[in-house]
Symmetry: C2
Subunit: 370 residues, 2 copies
Amino acid sequence: MKIGILGGGQLGRMLIQEALKYDDEFYTLDPNADCSCANISFFTKGDFNEKQAVIDFGKDKDVVSIEIEHVNVEALQELEKQGVKVIPNSAIIKTIQQKILQKLFYEEHEIPSPAFQIILSAEEEIIIDYPFVQKLNTGGYDGKGVQIIKDESDFNNLWDQPSILENLVDIDKELSLIIAKNERGEIKSFPVTEMVADPKLNLLDFNISPTQISDDVQSQIDVIAAKFMKAADSDGLFAIELFLDKSGKVWVNETAPRLHNSGHQSQEGNANSQFEQFYRVLKNLPLADTSSLGFSGMLNLVGEENCSGKVKYEGLENVLKLADAYVHLYGKTETKPGRKMGHINVLSDSRDELLEQLIHIKSLVKVVAV
Amino acid sequence: MKIGILGGGQLGRMLIQEALKYDDEFYTLDPNADCSCANISFFTKGDFNEKQAVIDFGKDKDVVSIEIEHVNVEALQELEKQGVKVIPNSAIIKTIQQKILQKLFYEEHEIPSPAFQIILSAEEEIIIDYPFVQKLNTGGYDGKGVQIIKDESDFNNLWDQPSILENLVDIDKELSLIIAKNERGEIKSFPVTEMVADPKLNLLDFNISPTQISDDVQSQIDVIAAKFMKAADSDGLFAIELFLDKSGKVWVNETAPRLHNSGHQSQEGNANSQFEQFYRVLKNLPLADTSSLGFSGMLNLVGEENCSGKVKYEGLENVLKLADAYVHLYGKTETKPGRKMGHINVLSDSRDELLEQLIHIKSLVKVVAV
């Protein structure tokens, strides 16, 4: 089967890596000829935001999918008209791509998400209470396009672009649910993952799965997931990012219509990974068992501040000496401050030990330039 | 790092798949442009038995290795002279490549292997007792080049080529040990694997790991492994194929200086796979934890008799519905009778359940032509 993926980054790379267990041909489209997928797939250099480039790329594929949601949706609509299978479908990609449409989608389908105001420019009257989060309608990615406006004195920092202004949630935990649906109608989720703040560094950069939540919280999440999948009405693999507030209520922060950083620990931590599951969605195969094999965690390897150039992973050998630690690099030759270069998965029988080990490993390794 | 592999078959493919977790460049040399590695590595079409082809391929690599032992050894010697790292070294590949040299190597180093006679042609007087196994000096692979000569009436079938004639062992179990050594001198083996005869079909086609053996048998194997690694005096990953006879004595059948079919279940069955371990050998990284995660087993998917042409895997979907079963296909488009097209790994907490599940899965799936 000819599987076309818009985007050639690490998510595509790990998908293709997993799918090398099978016999399909993977094609990728990316503007960067040096991207993570270039040498392991049939690669086309091109812009996934250009309509014609996407149509040309997709028209002879059995299925076209994405590993980044910022792609040309009109092209996907055109491919669907031509009879090409597009997963997830163009409608849900379009909805999720635009934060305003995404928020209205939650509202319409009674999926709890923080109260909000839509603004099209900074001229509009602010009726939402301070402090609030401003999320740009388009172009947000990996924390970009999002800022907190603390109070009226901070008002001048408001971006003058179409945005969502959203109430802050009094967060107890940040959670994530990876859920998949195939064409035959099977739906299966992974155990809920928690994004943990490093108590020393105060950075949100560990995932731990499964999280420990009450039955009530789990059932709120189940209801949200069911509503989302019904409303989305699309095959695909989705990451629903959630806030659990201090009163015990679950809110949807946002959803990604694709493989997600919060699912990486499934590579060794679950019976099957999010990459295996997504592959099965693309082929409409029976969905895979997602059981946890114990506690698993993930830490991102990101480029250090003030380091740009040819990447060097300091201390990585010390990590390779550890049992239950699994290094995943993304085949990127150049590091930049904050660039995601890889991740490390860790397994443990206990949540406390896992967290300890994640903190230890984080202290061992640094992503610098040569 | 530029890693060159002679051969582009499934062993190379699964190595590259595993190593996509890291940042190296893999180069493969194979005469078949449609081989399993062609589209996932920097591929050179060429014959690994031709001296110049191997030298040209290897001279600019940081390390050159093999995924098949039938390669041009003179070229590897030349590359070593030029300062290219060759793993395993040319001397041990040469020894293992020729069954006569391999037997003499065992004899010289007091590694127990069945009594034998060397013949250079069928003219020679047979002094070994019937029945015996004839193994051609070169060209044997995957069961080819090996036959049993039952008695004097069978003598006319003797191949008229340089061979080893070897006493039959009264086999209780066929075992295999995968063992690795890196340049820094670390040596680590996987738990011993057992090749199990399917009680219904009487075919040797399941691996089970770990096997259940006595301490005495384990220590015989440990002694053999230590002697072998000392004598081989080479970095690399090796598969030592063993017979346990009915009196409880362990014999070496033969050794492969490479990744091996008997190690495939390590992909899901062990903390790290033979492919991860071999990658670490190639890079001289700390060797990985090889602990078993429970019982794991493997069955080969081989082309059915009377089926040649474009491959179709009948019943594979039923396997994908099972928990604890992992399908691995080799990216081969054409099936032939007996051709290894893939394998399925199975996990279980119990040896009996594992065997039952392997037999069940074997009944579910057939490799046929469209």
